[in-house]
């Protein structure tokens, strides 16, 4: 037990270290921008005095290392700074009345929740469907069913997300108006309605993610089917379904859990394109918008959140696969 805790603590420490280095990379990358926001916002009317004043307000006149430290210490405490685009003068002079619209954290929080909702709904569909399909494909391997699912999953993995999204819009929203093609989600919406509006983006993501998970499940199970203990079970006359579910699946769990976590991590990046297509008010949409108007604090914060979620899910995958596989618990 102690060794497990030690391994988990090691992984966690490694994850935090990675996160720290990633934050340095993000900060450095953003600071490679030529000129700065002060010049950009003032445009042609930039007098040296005005530029200087805004720089001072935003703290752009300080040394990069100092700015990094203050940004990081703020970020750790949940203060991600003020959005440049939503900035009003009051926020910088310190007389903000507390509407709070201009701070990055208040901008991101509701959208983050929306994105999590979308990812959650997707996982709700994708995980059971892909596991079932994977087990069925392993059970009836090399049959017509297996080949058909193979072709279909390969096609949906390799199609761009927006292609799948538009196909779904075409068939489920335009030609047969069953679901809404735009996901205008607002606060205080009834859960049922919110679910309906999230369904189409969630279905798109499900198509993308399911394919990969299903193929990995199938491969993991088939890999095991050649081992002697499966042969033994077969010779005992156990039914093929029981062999797979009872004997092969527990041993295939580690790679399957790994692939589920990795795909959930993939969801985090996949949402960007899908959110843009469906105008879903999530964090991906905010990110793309901020990238276009170069709203640096928001871009930084979104990047940090995406990277954090990615690292966290990879970490979870790591830990879970160690827990589910006794052989990995005792490293040589």
């Amino acid at each position: 037990m102690a060794s497990i805790l030690k391994i988990i603590a090691q992984r966690l420490a490694l994850g935090i270290l990675t996160m720290f280095v990633v934050s340095v990379v993000i900060f450095t990358a953003v600071n490679l921008l030529p000129g700065d926001f002060a010049e950009a916002i003032l445009g042609q009317g930039a007098t040296p005095e005005a530029v200087e004043a805004i720089r001072k307000d935003l703290g752009l006149d300080q040394h990069p290392v100092r700015r990094y430290i203050s940004w990081l210490s703020g970020a750790v405490q949940g203060d991600l700074g003020n959005s440049f685009a939503q900035a009003n003068f009051a926020a910088f002079v310190g007389t903000d009345t507390g509407s709070g619209l201009s701070s990055v954290a208040t901008q991101i929080a509701p959208r983050f929740e929306n994105t999590m909702f979308l990812a959650g709904v997707t996982a709700l569909f994708a995980v059971p469907v892909s596991l079932t399909l994977g087990i069925l494909a392993a059970l009836y391997r090399n049959s017509v069913f297996d080949r058909a699912t193979n072709i279909m999953t390969l096609s949906s993995i390799s199609s761009p997300e927006f292609f799948l999204a538009y196909i779904l819009i075409l068939f489920l929203a335009v030609m047969n108006p069953i679901l809404p093609s735009l996901s205008n989600i607002y606060e205080g919406m009834a859960l049922g309605e919110r679910f309906t509006k999230t369904l189409l983006p969630a279905l798109t993501l499900t198509l993308v993610v399911t394919a990969h998970m299903m193929r990995m499940t199938r491969a993991a199970i088939i890999n095991l089917l050649a081992s002697p203990y499966i042969e033994m079970a077969r010779l005992k006359g156990i039914s093929p379904l029981r062999i797979i579910v009872k004997h092969a699946l527990p041993n295939a769990l580690a790679p399957i859990i790994n692939v589920i976590a990795l795909n959930l991590a993939y969801l985090i990046t996949g949402v960007v394109v899908v959110e843009v297509v469906f105008v879903y008010p999530g964090i991906g949409q905010l990110f793309v918008d901020s990238v276009k108007i170069r709203d640096i604090p928001v871009v930084q914060a979104c990047c940090l959140i995406f990277a954090g979620a990615y690292i966290l899910l990879n970490l979870t995958a790591d830990v879970l696969s160690i827990l589910s596989n006794p052989r990995l618990r005792h490293p040589k």
Binding site: L154, S158, P160, F162, V276, V291
Partner: protein, 399 residues
């Protein structure tokens, strides 16, 4: 709820039909093993598959019987079925030709090829042909603004088409077919160049790390770890923001920055593979022999390691190409990739996307954005089919 109920009823009905099929089969064939050992789930699968096929045929017939000017719910389904059939037949003929024409070596390859792989090879060849000869194939220039805008695809004058522009024109009057053809050159060409660059960077560094090891290996590996901790699309978007600020009004420059950025991000994955493959090769005796012979580093990497790492790297090249291609398409779709007026499929999808909403009135209108997106999907599907076959062949997975 009523839809859920009817779906459940259909499923139960299918299950009953499956049972009936098995029962009748057992009686008619005198309990042949095929029917005797059939699980109920398998019988259900057969009935379900048959039903889907019947429905497809029915829908295909529906898609033709209606008048072209009115909306038809089955228009796209019909086209999809036609496209599928045409490609399947073309792939079959292509494989047949490959088996009987050409040198022995290529005939041997074609003999063991599944239909999906021959489809992939055929599509890749077609794309390569179109990309190389785009300037001769396209009826108009990619930036040429013609006199009439918003012509409906299909070339049917009754619904606003024009036979001169078989796939119609976009909002400012550029011929969509020409832009699709030039898009093959631009999008595929740029993706190919980016992948080559990524392989050059990642492969060289990976083999270097494997051969030299020590601090260089540690440094490169940890650097790659950090870069891989950031989701690639997010990182690409972040760097593209910075690149767009550097490029300023020089939009052409941005494309070069994009190639560089994506190549660097993707080279991390190549590095991992090249290093892993390289490490396995470096411990071989013939490397030891070459080292004792006093061969230089360049000779070791390019004459000893590279030829032995060909097979996995080639399969990875196909997969990497797909990823790069999709990343570029996504970036262009989000508006920060390949810049207009250069014709590019991702940008075309974004520009033409709102036409999809008119599909209820005239299905042909919606086909333009789908064609651009479909062109992207078709190529990646084709490459993936070929890679899948290559991996299957090299891994020797039989079951």
């Amino acid at each position: 709820m009523s839809t859920l109920m009817s779906i459940a009823l259909i499923l139960i009905g299918l299950l009953g039909a499956g049972w009936l099929l098995r029962f009748v089969g057992q009686r008619l064939t005198g309990n042949k093993p095929f029917f005797r050992d059939m699980a109920l789930g398998v019988a259900f699968g057969y009935v379900f598959g048959a039903l889907v096929l019947v429905w497809l045929v029915w829908a295909y017939i529906q898609s033709h019987s209606a008048d072209a000017t009115t909306a038809n719910n089955f228009f796209f389904l019909g086209k999809a079925v036609e496209g599928f059939a045409i490609f399947a037949v073309a792939a079959f003929i292509f494989r047949l030709l490959g088996r009987h024409i050409g040198p022995d070596a290529s005939r041997k390859i074609f003999r063991s090829m599944p239909l999906t792989a021959s489809f992939g090879v055929l599509v890749i060849l077609i794309y390569a042909f179109v990309a190389i000869f785009a300037a001769w194939l396209a009826p108009y220039g990619q930036e040429e603004v013609l006199s009439s805008a918003n012509i409906v695809p299909g070339g049917n004058p009754a619904i606003g088409g024009n036979p001169d522009f078989p796939l119609g024109t976009d909002q400012i009057g550029r011929d969509i077919m020409s832009r699709l053809i030039f898009g093959a050159q631009n999008t595929v060409g740029i993706a190919f160049a980016t992948t080559c660059l990524a392989f050059f960077i990642g492969g060289t560094l990976g083999f270097l790390a494997a051969t030299l090891q020590g601090w260089l290996d540690q440094l490169l590996s940890r650097g790659v770890d950090v870069l891989m901790a950031i989701p690639s699309l997010i990182f690409a978007l972040l760097l593209m923001t910075i690149a767009s600020a550097w490029a300023g009004s020089e939009k052409g420059l941005l494309t070069y920055y994009m190639i560089l950025i994506i190549a660097v991000i993707d080279s991390t994955r190549v590095f991992r593979l090249a290093r892993a493959v390289g490490l396995n090769i470096v411990v071989m005796d013939y490397i030891e022999a070459a080292k004792l012979r006093g061969e230089g580093l360049g000779y070791l990497i390019f004459r000893e390691i590279l030829p032995n790492a060909y097979a996995p790297l080639l399969a990875e090249f196909g997969l990497r190409f797909c990823f790069v291609f999709l990343t570029i398409a996504s970036l262009s779709f989000l508006g920060v990739g390949i810049q207009p007026p250069t014709a590019d499929w991702g940008t075309m999808v974004r520009d033409l996307a709102q036409f999809i909403n008119f599909a209820g009135f005239a299905p042909q209108v919606a086909s333009a954005p789908l064609l651009a997106a479909g062109a992207i999907a078709l190529l990646t599907v084709a490459v993936n089919f070929v890679v899948d076959w290559m991996l299957h062949k090299s891994s020797g997975l039989k079951e």
